[in-house]
Structure formats: C-alpha cells, structure tokens
C-alpha cells in the first residue's frame, strides 16, 4: 500500500489540534500553543509541496487516490484524490495557514490555544473539501468547515463580530442544505439506474440525469456555491464577515474559503449536470459581470480599507466565475489560476490592512495619509500587492485576468467587454485607496511615529510578494499541472452535453451549445 499522503495531509492539522488540547494552561501556554500550531501548519505546507513534486503534471486523471468503504450500506466511500485543479489549491491552503497564524502573533492574545485549534481544524476541513472524491465526504468537510470559522469570527473578531459570525454560518448553511438534498437525489438516481447507492464522484460523473432533475440539482448546487463565492446577489454576508473577522480569519476566508465556491462549480456543478450547466452558464456569466462591476463600484466608495478589499473580492471572484462560465480552455484555466492569484493578492492585502490596524486600531482610510514617509518598507510591500491585485503585467493578477477575458471573449464578446471595465475600475479604487493612505503629507500626527515592518512581519509578507512575482513571471510552472485536468473536465462536459442532444432528448440548453 502506498503512503496515504492525502489522508495524512487532512489528518495532520487535526492531530495538531488534539495535541493542543494537552497544552497545560500557564505562563507558557500561549507561546507553546503558537509554536505547535506553526510547526504543524508548516509540516502541512511541506507535505503539500511534496505532493506537488510527486504529482505527474501531464496526467489529467486523479492521482494519489485512496478509497475505503465507509458506510457500505449506502455506497459511501472514503475516497480522496487530487488532480490539477485541486493540487494548487491544496498548496495555497498549506501556504496561507502558517502565514495567517504568524499574522495573528501580535493581535491575538486572548485564548490563544483555542485560536490555534480552530485555525488547524479549519485547515483540515479546507484540505478535505479539496481532496474529496465522494459527495458525502465532500459535504461533511464542507459543513464542518463552518464551525471553526464561525468561532474565529465570533470570538476574535471586531465589534460586530457576533452578528457577522451568525450571518456567515446561517447564510452558508441555508445554501448548502439544498445541495445535500440534491446529493441524496443523485445517489438514489444511481440506485434506480444501477441497483446500488453511490456517492462516488467518478461514478456519478457518468450517470445520466434526466433533464428536469438536472435543472433542480444544478440550481441546488449552484446556489450553495454562489453563496460561497459569493456571486452577486448572494454576496451580502461577505463584507460583514470580512470586516469583523480577525486578520487571520480574513486571510483564510479570502484566500481559501471563497475558492471553495468556484472550485465546487468546476468540480461538481458543471461536470455532474452538463446540460443544465450549458443552459445556465450565460445567466451565471451575466451575474458574474454584474458582480464585477457592482463590486468595483461599491469598493470605490468604501471609507474602510477592509470593506474595500472585501468588495474587491466580490469583483475579482466575478472574474473567476466568468471564466468558468465561458466553458473553454482559456476561460477555465484562467479561472483556476485566478483563484490562486486572488488567494495570494487579497490575502496579502488583508495582511497589510491588519498590520496597519494593529498599529493604529483603525481601518478608516481617512485616518491615514502620507505613510510613505513614515513606513517606507511597509508601503513598498503594500504597493507590490496592490499592483498584483490590479493585474499589472509581470505580477500574478495579470495572467489570470488575461486568460479569463480571452476565454470570455471567445464565448460572448459583449460580456467580455463589460467585464474588462472591471479591470479599469479595480485600478481606480485600489490606486485611489493607495494614494490616500500613503501619499501626501502626514495629516494625522498619530501616524507620524508608526513603526516600519517588524522582522515577524517580513516573514509574513515576503513569501506572498515572492509568490506574486513568481506567478507573474513564470506562470507556466503553475499552469502546467492545471491544463490537462481542465481539458479533461471540459471534454467531459461537452461530450455528455452533446451526446444526450444527439440521442434526441430535448436538452434544456439545446440552442446554447458552444
């Protein structure tokens, strides 16, 4: 039996959390807890890198697959595996978690042990979502993830944390319970078709779902994922959650959690229900473009930096969804790439905002000004990450947005044209915010003596900048493993969508084949 690399990957943070249970309360509790959590999360990161190095980039299939019977009576298996789409998301999760832990070094001092436990449990659930090849297992991780995030926002957040935490968990649950029913419906459909239950993704991929059920199932899945992304008009939980969450929570929320929505669309909703996907893709694309423009416009008028970055997430994730709905190679590959970019650049922005707010205990743009003279190094890091978020060529954001727009243009040039305005708008609001915070004279004397980047903060922000540059200069390192799997997924969608059409069924998307 080969080494179960994915299972150990998912289990390692839980082991860390259990270890933390045994840390004795006392003077050293805080330091020991942090060290344990950091070491564990670094080990996880190391393991994700190991996974990447062993991964065969040319193969479109799932690799490192493990399969064990779990609840045999219902055909539920513990099945995990990784392909090009999920591989780098795992690496991203492994990369951001230690950074999030480090970022909270100075700002979290109450109940540090519990904080570290929740971060580790959250990491485990996130990794689990990305490796699950069984819908039941996927749903377990998907739902289990809500609880630690709820506590992270609710206990260590800012003033309106309780409201934000409850809104976060209820919104997400309301979306996902209908998906649970759709999953059950699929399993019973498999039962009627073959005589046995199955929640196995690979088996369900080949299941022919009747047209009217495809519509319901797709809508149930899409609602769950649209809320998570969040796609306009399901985005209202996001600004609250982001603004109230502690820095570490925001980084993980923006960096990884939101990707689960878009990942879910690519992995589950589109390939499982190809005809419904073809039928609804244009509508989703329109919502995505509305989200791009709306998010950007709302971001522009935010007085609060964190809220601005939160709305910029709505805008940027609109691009990702647009790329997915283009349903061609460039679009989807760009979308997967953009998921990683957004994790890096928005994660970085939240870190910077967190550093400023640690110093001044405010996030209002009007409270700052002229920081360039006071904290030149911090501002330099801020600038690079801002530019990466805008999509300046040579940094990571450019590659993803370019590919997505290329893909979208091939599908619907008008939509792509509207989406492209989002690029300009994002430059406007980001640079305007940057200008107001960093340039001009120091208007508030409280800012005159702020400390520049501390060594710990260097450790936090330098890797983000390095990755942002690397992904901008050498995108092929990252695109290479993504490509084959995206191609396989797209072939699967198009073949099945048209196969049923040829068989004479009246597919809902009959006129919309691309």
């Amino acid at each position: 039996m080969p080494f179960p690399i994915l299972s150990t990957l998912v289990a390692l943070p839980v082991v860390g959390a259990i270890l933390l249970l045994f840390v004795r309360p006392g003077d050293n509790e805080e330091r020991v807890s942090r060290m344990i959590a950091l070491v564990i999360s670094l080990l996880v990161f190391g393991e994700t890198l190991l996974l990447w190095s062993r991964f065969i980039p040319g193969s479109p299939e799932f690799q490192f697959v493990e399969r064990h019977a779990w609840i045999p009576a219902f055909g539920i298996t513990y099945a995990v595996g990784v392909d090009g789409i999920s591989l780098l998301l795992l690496v991203l999760t492994g990369f951001l978690t230690p950074i999030a832990l480090l970022s909270s070094w100075e700002s979290v001092h109450t109940k540090t042990r519990a904080f570290c436990m929740f971060v580790l449990l959250l990491e485990s659930a996130m990794l689990g979502v990305f490796v699950s090849l069984d819908l039941f297992l996927f749903y377990v991780f998907w739902d289990a993830m809500l609880v630690p995030m709820y506590f992270l926002i609710g206990i260590w957040g800012y003033d309106r944390r309780v409201y934000a935490a409850v809104k976060f968990i209820l919104y997400t649950m309301a979306g996902s319970v209908l998906m649970l029913l759709a999953i059950l419906g699929l399993a019973y459909l498999h039962y009627t078709a073959t005589g046995s239950y199955s929640f196995d993704l690979l088996k369900l991929y080949t299941l022919d779902v009747p047209d009217h059920l495809q519509v319901y199932f797709f809508l149930a899945f899409a609602l769950a994922f649209a809320i998570k992304v969040p796609l306009f008009p399901f985005h209202t939980w996001l600004p609250d959650a982001h603004v109230e969450a502690p820095t570490a929570g925001s980084v993980i929320l923006a960096g990884v959690l939101l990707k689960m929505g878009t990942y879910g669309l690519v992995r589950f909703a589109f390939p499982l229900f190809p005809q419904a996907a073809v039928y609804f893709a244009p509508a989703l694309g329109v919502l995505a473009v509305i989200g791009i423009i709306y998010g950007a416009l709302v971001a522009m008028v935010q007085p609060d930096m964190k809220k601005l970055v939160a709305y910029s997430s709505v805008s940027h994730l609109g691009f990702v969804v647009l790329g997915i709905t283009a349903m061609n190679m460039q679009g989807v590959q760009g979308a997967v790439y953009q998921m990683l970019n957004h994790g890096i650049s928005t994660g970085g922005l939240f870190l910077i905002v967190g550093m400023l707010s640690d110093r001044r205990h405010t996030r209002l743009i009007a409270e700052y000004g002229g920081l360039k003279k006071v904290t030149p190094r911090l501002v330099a890091a801020f600038l690079i990450i801002t530019l990466s978020s805008i999509g300046l060529p040579g940094l990571n954001g450019f590659v993803g947005e370019f590919l997505i727009l290329l893909g979208a243009f091939r599908t619907d040039p008008k939509l792509a044209a509207f989406a492209a305005t989002g690029v300009i708008l994002s430059a406007t609001y980001m640079l305007w915010m940057f200008q107001r915070v960093n340039y001009g004279p120091v208007t508030n004397e409280k800012n005159a003596n702020l400390a520049d980047l501390q060594p710990r903060e260097w450790v936090v922000i330098a890797p983000i900048i390095a990755v942002a540059i690397l992904m901008g200069v050498l995108p092929n390192i990252f695109l290479r493993p993504i490509g084959p799997s995206v191609e396989r997924t797209l072939n699967q969608i198009h073949q099945r969508a048209s196969a049923v059409l040829n068989a004479g069924h009246s597919a809902p998307g009959a006129g919309a084949t691309r």
């Binding site: 377990v140 609880v147 609710g154 309780v162 029913l181 399993a187």
Partner: protein, 478 residues
C-alpha cells in the same frame, strides 16, 4: 421454563432494581447518602446484557411481549437513556434535597414501562406500558414539591396525558370492535383483508390511535403540554422524559402504524405528512423566540419529533432504520444537553435563562465545550452523530419521493441552528455579567457528559456498524 419468560428479562432486571431502590429508601436514615443510583446501574446493566443475549433470537413471552431485534434496539437506547439520566441526576437530587430512593425507583419503573412499550405486541399491553411510564414520569415532573412551577407542570402534564390516554383507549376499543382482537398480528391480518375499501370505522380507530400517539411524541398540534412540562421539571427529569418517553412512544407508534396499520397507509400517511411538516415548523420557528434554555430545548425536541415523523411518513426500509438511529443519537445528544443544564442548576437559581450562559467558556471551558458539541449535534453539524441521523432521515424522504418534506426539514434545521447558536454565542462571545459562581461539576455527571460527547463523535465518524445494526433490526417486524 423452556424460555417462556426470556423476552421480559430486560424489563424484569430494571423493575427489580426499582423495587430494590424502594426498599433501600425505607432503610435510609434521613440525610444519609446511599449509593441507590448504583442499584439502578446494576439493573440497567442487567437489562443491557439480557438484550445482547436475546439479540437475534426472536424470543416471545405470553404471546404479548416480543423481544425482536427492533424492540431490543430500542431497549438498548432506553438503557442508555436510563444510565445517563441517573448519572446526571446526582447534582439535582443533592441541591434540591429530593428523596433519592423515590426518585431513582420512579425513574427505573418508568424505564421498565418504556421497555415494555417498545416490545409489547398487544394494544392493551402497549396501553398498560404507556400508563406505567406516564404515571412515573408525572410524579417525577412534580417531584420538587415546594416549587409551584414544578407542580403546575406536573398537573398540566397529567391532565393532558390522561386526556390523550382516553383517545388511545378509545382507539383500542374501536379496533377491537372491528377485528375482535387487540393482538397486533391478528389486527394487522384482518385489516389487510379488508383494506381494499377502508370503512369509516377503521379510519376512526386509526385516527384515535394516531391522536393518542401524537400526544405522547409531542407532535403539533398536540404539543401544548411539552414546553410547560419540560420547563417545570428538574433538568435531569426533562432530559429523561424528552428522550425516554419519545423513544418508547416512537417505538410503539412505528410498530403499530408501520406494520399493523400498514395496509391503511394511503389514508394515514397524508395526515402524518401534515403533522410532520407542522411539527418541524412550529418546533423550530417558535424555538427561536424562547429566552429560557429549557423551553428552547423543549421546542427543539418537538422539532426533532418532526424529523422522526418524516422518517415514518417515508415508511421505506431506509426510513425505518432511520427512526432507530435517530432515536439513539437524539437520546444521547439531548440528555447531554440537559445534563449540562442540570449541572448548572444551582437549586435556588435555576440558571436556565439564555443570559445565564454568558461567559461560561471563561468559567468552565470543558463544560462549555461539551454543551457546544451537544448543540452542534442537535443542529446537525458533521462530524457529529446528529448530522448522520438527519442525513439518514432525509435520504428516506428523498428516496420515497417526499421532496417537499425533505426541503421543509433541511430549512427548519437551518432555523434551528440559529437558536442553538444563541446559546453558543452566549457561552463564548458574551462577557460574564452576573458574577454568579458556577456550581461544581460532580465527577459522575462529568464522566457521563464526556462519554456522551465521545459517542457522538464515534457515531458521527464511524456510523457504519450502528447503521447496519439499525437496518438489521427493522427486518424482524416489517
């Protein structure tokens, strides 16, 4: 002997323990502490061992008590209910200075009645069992004699309970009038023979029995007694009756309706559909506005009754297994939650308002964590048992084509999460204001709570064995 008494051994063990508790009480000096609860553990352990030995044998005593696997599974659930209830009763008895012999004896007699109800195969015997358990529980509800709230609760519970018993008895009378028998198998075969065109008389008999059961399982619109009774009774008793009575009543309900009255399912399932939907909606929506934790959990337990009814409406193999698995997880979870309430109950101050939980995490991190686990399991979060139980119920509904019932079910469970989280918000995210000291946790109650929590994780992560057991149990009667 040739095994004629085998099927009643589990309840005989519990009854013997109850009698022993009464005798011990007679020899107890006032104020003397006596390990009477230990007698209960012994009796319940005997019942558990007997159930395991009887497993798969299909023992029948007097043609009226059947220790089939279905009944034995519920018996095991009831043994767990009894054991946990005794374990969490200690603090209540001490602080309220309740007569411990009477308390444990009543509790054990109630468990014996519940076991009888789960294994009885004659309508009259089911009624008898119902009365045995109800009388004991009425007294337990009012056992705090000085407390007006407790007395009021007991009286309300008794009056409405007696009312529902009358319905039940009336239903039995009609059934006897129609078929000339009260034995479930004979009634079933005669009904099946006439089922082509159900007569109004048949429907009346079924309807009256349905009302009687609906009262006992606290289904809407027969749930009015529940919040008052649950709030007035001591927390440990509430935990006991919200799980034990429900498990026993659902066992008999399932046995009567899903096997004996199965031929008339087309007629009663429509009504039960409505009752199930109303129960889920009322239980959760009204629960949102409660400010007393016991009352909130009373509405939550009404809501959980609704999920069990969904499984009954679905009435397929999955649904029947789901009822058993749900009863098991619900019993452990709810008793755990009420156990925490019982531990916090300080006698003079019940500490059962939502605000009393403020900042519990700072005072008692372990207790707060346990409460969180129980509440999250009630809310149906993985990887806890409550998730698997709900998933099982909803799969039954989806499989049977009751999609709307499943949709109502999942949406109400989201609403229920809202009020479970209110307590979590209080415990973790609200500073402690009152400065009232939290009573200490007795070792036995603490151990019971920890074991319950571990069981919830076990059933949530590795449910396959118990699911198979539940599925195997239903084969014996359907």
């Amino acid at each position: 002997m040739n095994g004629a008494f085998n099927a009643i051994v589990p309840m005989a063990c519990v009854t013997a323990a109850g009698i022993a508790a009464m005798i011990a009480e007679a020899f107890r000096e006032p104020g003397e502490r006596m390990p009477i609860g230990g007698l209960g553990f012994v009796g319940l352990a005997g019942a558990a061992i007997a159930s395991i030995l009887l497993w798969g044998r299909g023992a029948v005593s007097f043609g009226m008590v059947a220790a089939d696997n279905f009944g034995l599974f519920v018996t095991m659930v009831l043994v767990i209910v009894g054991t946990l209830s005794i374990a969490i009763s200690g603090p209540t008895i001490d602080r309220e200075q309740l007569p411990m012999g009477e308390y444990y004896a009543l509790l054990l007699f109630a468990v014996a009645g519940m076991i009888l109800m789960a294994t009885a195969t004659d309508l009259l015997l089911i009624f008898l069992a119902l009365e045995v358990l109800s009388l004991a529980v009425y007294v337990l509800t009012g056992i705090r004699r000085q407390s007006p709230l407790s007395t009021e609760a007991a009286l309300k519970y008794f009056l409405l309970g007696a009312f529902s018993s009358a319905f039940f008895l009336y239903g039995i009378a009609f059934t006897y009038g129609l078929t000339g028998s009260t034995r479930l198998d004979r009634v079933g075969s005669l009904i099946a023979a006439q089922a082509m065109s159900p007569t109004p008389m048949q429907l009346l008999a079924v309807g009256l029995l349905l009302v009687g059961f609906a009262f006992k399982v606290a289904a809407v619109p027969f749930h009015m007694w529940t919040p008052d009774a649950y709030e007035g009774a001591p927390a440990a008793v509430t935990g006991f009756m919200s799980t034990g009575v429900k498990a026993a009543a659902f066992a008999a309900f399932t046995r009567v309706f899903l096997s004996t009255f199965e031929p008339l399912r087309g007629d009663w399932s429509v009504i039960l559909w409505g009752i199930a939907a109303a129960t889920m909606i009322v239980g959760t929506v009204v629960g949102v506005s409660q400010s007393n934790v016991k009352r909130m959990l009373a509405y939550s337990s009404i809501g959980h009754g609704g999920y069990l009814l969904v499984a009954m409406v679905a009435a397929n193999d999955v649904g029947k297994g789901a009822i058993l698995f749900y009863l098991l997880t619900y019993a452990i979870t709810n008793l755990g939650a009420f156990g925490v309430i019982a531990v916090l109950d300080a006698g003079d101050r019940a500490n059962d308002r939502v605000e009393d939980y403020a900042g519990l995490w700072n005072e008692r991190p372990a207790l707060a964590a346990l409460m969180t686990i129980f509440l999250l399991s009630l809310g149906g979060f993985p990887p806890l048992a409550g998730f698997i139980a709900k998933w099982y119920v909803f799969s039954a509904a989806v499989k049977a084509g009751y999609n709307w019932l499943a949709i109502i079910g999942v949406l109400t469970s989201v609403i229920s999460v809202f009020f479970y989280l209110r307590i979590v918000v209080m415990m973790y995210m609200t500073p402690r204001g009152s400065g009232e000291p939290v009573p200490p946790t007795p070792a036995l109650a603490g151990a019971a709570l920890v074991i319950s929590a571990i069981l919830l994780f076990y059933l949530g992560i590795l449910p396959a064995r118990v699911l198979d057991l539940a599925a195997a149990s239903i084969g014996t009667i359907f």
